[in-house]
């Protein structure tokens, strides 16, 4: 899933409705340009979407031909306590992850913006985001190891008790969320940093002349003018956050018991370890509807908060 942030404004100048005659009607040559992409789009996006929707009304299990079962899968979903638990666990994950990530990223972005233009520092900050999730998950599994992990060593040194982290029922999902916060803070900070570049310098100069301190300028200039970018970053973070899978698959596999069994992982398990494709598809349909609703809601809030610059 992707969205574009701070995209360049669509320049419509050249995409005229009625161009000169040579520009009119390129049907045949357009087909040449589009053919490979259309093939890929049909085969791996369009048809699968329709097919996935259809699976959700069947009892497809990969082995035998699917029978239509109507809304049975959706009915099963309503009564499936693991499903509801998975939604709850995902919710906890998303809220904790997005909240910590955004706040820390905002702090980091302000520090970078006020202190340095260094590309090297920005590149270093981005590193965790570029490294595979799987690598990050293994790395933190090792750092957080209950017996010999570095973090527990530090905890002991400063007089705290060793923690189970990923393998403690109370801590596992928050630990997974923290790992991904660590991975995404730099990336999110760079998005916000780019947004801060759009704020006119002279506002800060004026603020300084008025004797405003850093904190006041942050609250009264940066934050209000960054709001549209911040809102967009939130939408993207939230949707991305819902799709937490890799880290859970590598570290906890949903455990202990169901403590970190997030919805994505539950769908994966249902489909690929229990081969309940129909049921898994029904849950994915639910997830899509949920995400679309969430996005629309956020877009509305977004529109309500256009920049004070305009």
């Amino acid at each position: 899933m992707a969205a574009t942030i701070l995209e360049r404004p669509l320049r419509r100048r050249t995409a005229r409705r009625a161009g000169p005659s040579w520009q009119r009607g390129h049907g045949r040559i357009a087909l040449v340009f589009l053919a490979p992409a259309l093939l890929g789009f049909a085969a791996f996006y369009l048809v699968p979407t329709v097919r996935g929707l259809w699976f959700s009304f069947t009892d497809y299990n990969l082995l035998s031909d699917p029978d239509v079962v109507g809304l049975d899968n959706y009915g099963e979903m309503l009564g499936d306590r693991v499903f509801w638990n998975a939604l709850k666990v995902t919710g906890v994950y998303v809220v904790f992850n997005v909240a910590t990530q955004t706040v820390l990223a905002l702090g980091l972005a302000v520090l970078m913006e006020r202190l340095t233009r260094s590309v090297m520092i920005r590149a270093m900050v981005l590193l965790p985001w570029l490294v595979p999730n799987v690598t990050i998950a293994l790395l933190w599994m090792w750092l957080l190891d209950a017996n010999v992990g570095f973090v527990n060593h530090v905890m002991e040194q400063i007089g705290l008790a060793k923690q189970g982290f990923l393998f403690s029922p109370d801590q596992s999902i928050l630990t997974v969320a923290s790992i991904n916060t660590w991975r995404h803070v730099g990336y999110t900070a760079l998005l916000l940093f780019a947004g801060m570049q759009l704020i006119p310098r002279h506002l800060y100069e004026a603020g300084r002349i008025d004797g405003a301190g850093e904190w006041r300028m942050f609250r009264q200039i940066t934050l209000p003018l960054l709001r549209p970018v911040l809102a967009l970053v939130l939408v993207v973070s939230l949707i991305g956050s819902f799709q937490i899978f890799d880290t859970v698959a590598v570290t906890t596999e949903g455990g202990p018991v169901n403590a970190s069994r997030v919805i994505y992982y539950y769908i994966y398990e249902k489909a690929f370890t229990q081969f309940e494709f129909g049921y898994a598809s029904a849950m994915s349909v639910f997830l899509i509807l949920f995400l679309v609703a969430l996005t629309l809601l956020q877009m509305r809030l977004l529109r309500a908060s256009t920049s004070d610059l305009a």
Binding site: T14, A15, H26, F41, L111, I121, V131, L139, Y264, Y268
Partner: protein
């Protein structure tokens, strides 16, 4: 922040953030260079006690089974060299196909006039909203029925022809190329095809390179699809190999030194990209909202 103490404090904060970001990678390398025997002797020194290349030799399949067992690993052969090659091939094939075909499509959407263009474009866009897990199920069924499980083409196929994001991203840039240049070329009778390759592509080298880098990183990090499709050794990629390695090690004490050596191998190419294209990557991320 003109006052020096405040500025100093801010720098301290930034440096602390950098330390927290980079230290785990240092610990990974430190662990990879430590023998498993020395890993659990209670030393937490920042430098490895007795640095050794044995873990890298093990995961690259260069150590004999006896050496590997002596170093605390399993005797099972590990061939990260092959997984590394597979990952590179996977990323290279996806970048080549996806960037080329997405650019062609983006050009058609930006510059050519044909019936249903806008409808088709919005259809492309709307699929960006669909979470990958939804299409992964039917895509798996499709590739399986075509006999593509455990083949390289099965691994590459869904990414090869386009992604809605790539088309959308490039279209934005193609729209901003002045139409006059093409118009002149068009009046010269040069074919659309040649205009595209000889004018539009060279003029947009920057965005194309940016997209190629983003796509390479994403493909490199891909996990779920390779997990489903590329199970056998001959097509296994680095990410799934690491996950499998982790699950296979005896559960009492995972082979951390070996795992961290494998993890280091996965980080190195990314680090290389960052060193080569640091500025471009840093500047380009504002175009992405991909998680």
């Amino acid at each position: 922040m003109r006052k020096n103490p405040a500025r100093l404090l801010a720098w301290a904060g930034l440096l602390a953030a950098l330390a927290i970001t980079l230290f785990p990678f240092w610990w990974m390398l430190r662990t990879a260079l430590t023998g498993n025997a020395n890993l659990f002797d209670g030393s937490y020194s920042l430098l490895p006690d007795h640095p050794t290349p044995i873990n890298f030799e093990r995961v690259l399949g260069l150590a004999s089974p006896e050496e590997a067992r002596a170093a605390g690993g399993t005797a099972a052969s590990m061939d990260f060299w092959r997984y590394l090659q597979n990952s590179v091939l996977f990323a290279a094939a996806v970048v080549a196909g996806q960037v080329t075909f997405s650019a062609m499509a983006a050009y058609a959407f930006a510059r050519l006039r044909f019936r249903g263009r806008d409808v088709l474009f919005y259809l492309f866009l709307s699929t960006m909203m669909i979470p990958p897990i939804f299409t992964v199920l039917p895509n798996f069924v499709l590739i399986k029925s075509l006999g593509g499980v455990n083949t390289f083409w099965g691994l590459v196929a869904p990414y090869f022809f386009m992604t809605p994001f790539a088309v959308f991203f490039l279209r934005q840039f193609f729209l901003s190329v002045p139409g006059e240049i093409e118009e002149a070329a068009g009046l010269d009778g040069a074919s659309r095809w040649r205009i595209f390759w000889q004018v539009v592509v060279p003029m947009n080298k920057g965005p194309l390179l940016t997209l190629a880098i983003i796509t390479a990183v994403q493909t490199w990090n891909e996990f779920l699809w390779p997990l489903l499709i590329a199970k056998q050794e001959n097509v296994r990629v680095l990410t799934t190999a690491m996950a499998i390695f982790q699950q296979q090690t005896p559960n009492a004490t995972p082979d951390w030194a070996g795992l961290m050596a494998g993890a280091t191998l996965a980080v190195l190419p990314v680090l290389l990209l960052l060193i080569l294209f640091g500025r471009r990557l840093v500047d380009s991320i504002r175009f992405t909202g991909i998680k």
